[in-house]
Every structure is written in structure tokens, then in C-alpha cells.
Symmetry: C2
Subunit: 247 residues, 2 copies
């Protein structure tokens, strides 16, 4: 499972860059590369990420939802590995293939970072906030590290998260290893710790249904369901989640 | 005749960029784009153009000749058009399709620019200097605008140029129009004016052989030959030129 990219994309740029001596271990398809190069060029020209994102979403025909990045300001993830040294995220994840044991995580730039235009308003106006199934420390915490966003989500009455784990393991990536390395509990309990004080309901996979009784806390409901989000089950799961949260 | 690009290159990046709203009237193939993006990234990291060029030439298997850019410093071409305003070269040539009448040309940065490492030594050591068939004001003058290069070529005993004109017209591009616009004579005579004081022999196409007597000067030999440089005739012409210059 590669986990990124565009269906049917070609690899002419990567193949050529490989011949020119570029490290192409992080493969990007031609259409993906075009998008990244285009976005980088607009960022370099001073345009805000949120403005670029709005334009690109519209060009991709995404008109029925509003897509906003957490911030227009740069936020960097750094991890501490077994020998005590700190690596920036790209080095840890891409160059070294997330093979190092992680003992701590730090986010740089969060104090200076403001939520992007529309983020606060969107959370304020939302009937339900849903945290998608992703790596809590590496993918969701960088967003929650922006104080006004975490404060607003913590105060929101209906926040759901979807666990990225299936029998304690993510579909891909190092979520379970990173969570253990930084001292979170295993499995569903670790997800609850990662989102402590923020969420009202945690959706976990049916295969982990034993956790519903074992890990339940007074503050957070646990709901077991089929959380495998492919084209068939994704819409079904989303409808169920919305119905549950609307109670 | 497109005049640039790699044989059999694909257009995935340009097609995607077009969908993202980028002006793709200057088409670059995927392999071409990969090369340009790679070179731009190395330049941005502070590497010198001459060092990048040496590396890329070697990766393309060009081992039998030494390829050196004129300078590692930026030199910009600007043209004055009919309404008196000045346009940078990309705007004039690419965005506006070299449709404007040009009345003057200026090169910015030439005073600060040094010849790249090896350029002076290469001209010094050369038995023969050959100026390839190209647009004299727009493509060759930016090189000659670097004083030490022009001085060295002017003092060299055996300098040949190949006229880019066939019956007074270039194969493509605005050479004849630009030359007329800035006050050079038409045809072979204009090429001689453009290279005044620099060259010893001018090779012109057989179709223009009447110019050998008409435009000949005391300082410059004119030689008429088949100057159409395709895969068949290119090596034949080069061998003839070398033989002529070695007299």
C-alpha cells in the first residue's frame, strides 16, 4: 500500500531525476509533482497556503466542502530518536523510512502560528467536529499544537475521533510504534490518551470491540463499527457517525 | 518546428499545470521539466551553474567535449519595443511570442559578470573558435557582452562564425526582424556587422553564395557551403569547417 499519489499517474519526472542523480526514494507521480511544483511556486511568490488551497480545491471540483489548512504559518515536526538526537520530520519519515524508535516529539512554530482564515469560524459553526483516522501524534497533534484550535475543539460539545488502529495496528505507518515510544498506552487506550480532554466519542473498528468495555472512560463514549474507509464502506460509516453524533 | 525539447518526451506535468490554471503556452516536456526543476533547485542551493553543467553533461554521457556556460553570474536580456517601453526577454520572447518590433537591446549584469571557470583557458587554448549558427543579437551578444570574452575572441587568430540565415531568413525565430530593428543590414551583411572585429571567416549557406562577392570585406573571408546542420550534413559541414580553418 503506497498511501499517496494519483490513480494512473506516470513517473517520467522521477525517472529523469533519478538519471540526474536525485534521490527518488520518495516517489511522486508526474501529476503530483506538477501540483507540488505549482503550489511551491505560488508560496514562494508570497501567496497564502489557505488561498492556494481554496483555488486548487475548486479546480479539482471540490465545491461541496470547504477545505482549509490549519495555518498559513510554517509549523515543523521534529522527533527525538534513540541516540538522543533530534531529526526533522522529512529526515525521520522519508529519508530514514520511520525506522528509528521515537522517544519525543516537538512542534516548532506553533507559538507564532495563527489559525488560517476561516478555521475558527468553521469550528465555531460546526454541529459536529470529526477527527479523521490518522496518526494522532504525528498527523493530528501538529494541528492541535495551535492553541486556539485545541481550545475551541476542547470546548466544542460534539467532537468525534476515528481510531486509525485495527487490532492495535495502523493500516500503514508507525503510529503504534511512535505512540509506544512517547509513553502512550497501546491500542485504543493510547488513542484516548492522545485525545484526552478533546473528544466526546471515539469510533473504533469492530475487530477491537472488546476495548469498548475495557478502555471506556466517563468522558468519552466508545463506539465499535466497521472503520475500513473504502469507497463502499466510507459513505456508510460517515452516515452512521453523523447519525450517532446527532443524538 | 518546435526548436526545443527531448525526442519522445511526454506532457503529463504541463497538462496537469494547465488544469491548475498555469499559463502553459511555453510547453516543456516531462523530462525537460525534470531537468529544469533539478537545475533550479541546485542553483537555489547555491551551486554554480558551471559546476551543475559539468555534472549534467557527464550524466548525459557528453564526455568527449567540455561544456561550459559563459558565466556563473546572472545576465539578463532586455529589449525595447515599438512603444518605447522595455521588456525582459521572457516576456518579449515567450509571453508575447516575439511579435513586437525591437528597436534596441540591453544586457543587464554584464559589468559584474565574470567568465565561468575554464572559459578564458578554453578560448586561450583553442586552435579554432567557432560561433554556432544562432541569433547574433539575442543569443550570441549576451556572451560577447562579457568584456574579457569578447576581447579574447577578438584577439584570437582563427575565429569562424556560421550564419543562421538561409536566403536572409533564420530557420525559426526573429533574427532577421530583430537585426533590422536595431539597424543592422539585411542578410549576410548584417551578420558581418553583428560580428564586426571578432571573426575571421563567416560560413554562409550555398543558397546565399551571391553574397560571397557582394558582402566580402578585407577582414573577413566568406565561405559558402551547405549549412543545414541535420544528422547527415552536420558532421560533414563540421569536418569541412575544421579543414578550412586549419589552412
Amino acid at each position: 500500500l503506497q498511501g499517496w499519489g494519483r490513480e494512473g499517474d506516470t513517473l517520467a519526472v522521477m525517472e529523469e531525476m533519478g538519471k540526474l542523480g536525485v534521490d527518488t526514494s520518495m516517489t511522486l507521480g508526474d501529476r503530483d509533482f506538477a501540483l507540488c511544483a505549482h503550489r511551491a511556486s505560488r508560496l514562494a511568490a508570497g501567496e497564502r497556503l489557505s488561498s492556494i488551497t481554496t483555488d486548487l480545491a475548486s479546480r479539482f471540483g471540490i465545491d461541496d466542502v470547504t477545505l482549509i489548512p490549519a495555518s498559513d504559518d510554517p509549523i515543523e515536526t521534529h522527533v527525538q530518536v534513540d541516540d538522543g538526537s533530534w531529526l526533522d520530520f522529512q529526515t525521520y519519515f522519508v529519508d530514514r523510512g520511520h525506522a528509528d524508535a521515537v522517544s519525543a516529539i516537538a512542534f516548532h512554530g506553533t507559538v507564532e502560528a495563527d489559525p488560517a482564515p476561516g478555521v475558527i469560524e468553521a469550528i465555531d459553526a460546526a454541529d459536529i467536529v470529526v477527527i479523521a483516522p490518522s496518526n494522532p501524534p504525528l498527523s493530528i497533534w501538529p494541528i492541535l499544537a495551535i492553541d486556539p484550535i485545541a481550545a475551541l475543539i476542547g470546548a466544542h460539545p460534539r467532537v468525534a475521533a476515528v481510531s486509525p488502529l485495527f487490532a492495535g495496528k495502523p493500516v500503514k505507518g508507525p503510529a503504534d510504534a511512535v505512540m509506544a515510544g512517547i509513553g502512550l498506552a497501546e491500542g485504543t487506550e493510547g488513542i484516548l490518551e492522545a485525545y484526552d480532554g478533546l473528544i466526546d466519542v471515539l469510533f473504533i473498528d469492530s475487530g477491537d470491540r472488546a476495548d469498548v468495555t475495557r478502555a471506556a472512560t466517563s468522558e468519552t463514549d466508545l463506539v465499535a463499527a466497521n472503520t475500513w474507509l473504502d469507497e463502499d464502506n466510507g459513505p456508510r460509516f460517515a452516515a452512521m457517525l453523523l447519525e450517532y453524533m446527532a443524538r
